[in-house]
């Protein structure tokens, strides 16, 4: 490695090529290789040996964390499979990874998986978008007018502590046993938390900074767009992340109640006919979809942050 670094001005590319030919690569040199390639492309300043060692250490650590994470996942499902196969656990009650794969294949072949997933996804997204949008606007209204905020505060507090599932029967009677009722359920669950979180973020804006802009003659709208909104950005993103989880809860809970279609319906159905394979499979699919949506929000955060 020392030689590589010493020579890396002229013969670097050749060296890398040579290295790649050798299939036996230690992790360190592989990482080293990558950094060299990168620095080659972007023409970054050359790092000292100590700094490279430091970078390697960080990468090794990350690699270790990911490695353990994957190991835990494999061990969990592997152990599950083994225990069921050896008869320690009853496959009928606990299902097993292989049975789940079979169920997943069956569900995909019949098209049921796609239909039900799309229905639930649609309900979740609708609830998420509507509730976040309206919640945000209400928070802006409450921030901009202290009197309205004081009037509405007790109602919001009561609505927040009310378990929304209790409104299930009312919602079904008012909106019919269908998509509408499920979306309304999702909206009710998401919107109050959105209002409270975003309003708090707005109210926590540094008073001195607001005063400084006021002294320059800023009006309420300018204060909102130039200080309050940008400084609340991290809190707004974390609210979005919370809302992803809450809108899934809303959609699944709604489907439990309405019981017509969707992944929540499949879960209820699986429970009724004692089909644990179906229940476990749907749960895994739900996990996958929910984390996908979460990562999309995280991606959005990265994009917006990079722009500003």
């Amino acid at each position: 490695m020392k030689n590589d670094i010493k020579n890396n001005t002229g013969k670097k590319n050749k060296l890398i090529d040579n290295k790649e030919e050798k299939n036996k690569q230690t992790l360190n040199s592989e990482i080293d290789n990558k950094t060299e390639k990168k620095s080659n492309k972007k023409n970054k300043p050359k790092y000292s040996l100590e700094h490279k060692k430091f970078l390697n250490k960080i990468r090794l650590k990350t690699f270790f964390v990911i490695f353990i994470q994957i190991t835990i996942l494999i061990a969990f499902f592997g152990l599950w499979e083994i225990l069921v196969n050896n008869g320690v656990l009853d496959g009928f009650i606990y299902s097993s990874p292989s049975r789940m794969i079979n169920t997943l294949a069956e569900l995909s072949r019949s098209g049921e998986l796609l239909t039900h997933s799309l229905i639930t996804l649609k309900e979740t997204l609708l609830a998420f978008v509507i509730a976040t949008g309206i919640g945000f606007l209400v928070a802006v209204l409450l921030w901009s007018n202290n009197t309205i905020k004081r009037i509405l505060e007790p109602y919001i507090v009561v609505l927040n502590s009310l378990p929304k599932i209790a409104l299930g029967p009312i919602i079904i009677i008012w909106f019919g046993a269908g998509t509408k009722a499920i979306v309304v359920m999702g909206i009710l669950i998401v919107i109050i938390v959105t209002i409270i979180n975003i309003l708090n973020a707005f109210l926590n804006t540094d008073k001195n900074t607001i005063l400084a802009l006021e002294s320059m003659g800023a009006n309420k709208a300018q204060i909102f767009f130039k200080v309050v909104l940008p400084s609340s950005f991290p809190d707004i993103i974390s609210t979005l992340k919370i809302n992803v989880g809450l809108s899934w809860i809303g959609a699944i809970m709604g489907e439990y109640l309405v019981s017509k279609a969707g992944l929540g319906y499949l879960l209820v159905y699986g429970g009724l006919v004692f089909d644990l394979d179906l229940i476990m499979t749907v749960t895994i699919v739900l996990c996958f979809l929910a984390s996908l949506m979460y990562f999309l929000i995280a991606l959005l955060e990265k994009i917006v942050k990079a722009r500003h």
Binding site: D206, N208, L211, A212, S215, M216, G217, K226, V227, P230
Partner: protein, 254 residues
């Protein structure tokens, strides 16, 4: 010289649910264009309140204030306000921070922007214009904050303990810089400070306030070392004497 700020018999009462507080009582003073005036007094006596009244952020309960011949209005653009905290927006670069005031006043023209940048260059911060505020030292941030205020080209600068968040060495340095900037740009300034030495080393005139409710206890006009920097002036014999005098005036109040 012209009188640019006239404060006449001004009183102010702060109201809250449980009690009212008389913060200022019959305050009268005048400031001439180009003057550097310092307000000193026991802590909590209402120094900042006077700045808020002049900038139009507060309205007085009785009395009259004229700024540049008119009633104070925060939209009037006559006053620039500089606070203890620099209040730079952390998500904007130094350059974009300079434009905040211009954007607010809808005077975001190329000409004004260039003026702001020229100030930045003049006071040695040009290389930092693409940096974020948190990459700057405290002294640099405070100078950027001053340039942001100056970019609006106010006639009067209200300085509310602008150096008290800085460490001692930086404070001495920034004091010199700020006074030079203000004198160069020919601004009238009103400085609130709890640091008597700061007042003695920078001001042309020092107004000493009493404890709450604040009244004017004394007004000192400074004649020594006006061509010197605050750093030099601070150590002059006259400065030390005046410090002692003001110190005992304030001590009487406690």
């Amino acid at each position: 010289m012209n009188e640019i700020i006239t404060v006449k018999d001004v009183s102010l009462i702060y109201h809250s649910k449980k009690f009212e507080t008389l913060a200022l009582k019959d305050i009268s003073f005048k400031i001439e264009e180009g003057d550097f005036v310092a307000l000193v007094g026991p802590s909590g006596c209402g120094k900042t309140t006077i700045l808020s009244l002049i900038s139009g952020l507060l309205t007085c309960s009785s009395g009259e204030i004229l700024v540049n011949g008119l009633k104070p209005d925060k939209k009037s653009k006559v006053c620039g306000y500089m606070f203890q905290k620099d209040n730079l927006l952390p998500w904007r670069t130094v350059e974009k921070n300079l434009y905040v005031g211009l954007e607010i006043q809808h005077t975001n023209t190329k000409e004004k922007k260039d003026y702001a940048l020229s100030l930045l260059k003049k006071y040695g911060l040009e290389n930092f214009k693409t940096k974020r505020p948190d990459e700057l030292s405290g002294g640099m941030r405070q100078r950027v904050s001053l340039i942001r205020t100056l970019a609006l080209n106010p006639k009067i600068l209200l300085l509310d303990e602008p150096f008290s968040a800085l460490d001692f060495q930086t404070r001495l340095k920034v004091c010199d810089d700020v006074l030079k900037i203000l004198k160069d740009e020919k601004k009238t300034a009103l400085l609130v400070t709890h640091d008597i030495y700061e007042a003695v080393s920078m001001a042309d005139k020092i107004i000493v306030l009493s404890a709450r409710p604040a009244t004017i206890k004394n007004i000192h006009t400074l004649t020594f070392g006006r061509d010197k920097t605050p750093f030099v002036r601070r150590d002059m014999k006259e400065a030390t004497d005046l410090f002692q005098k003001i110190w005992s005036e304030i001590q009487d109040e406690k």
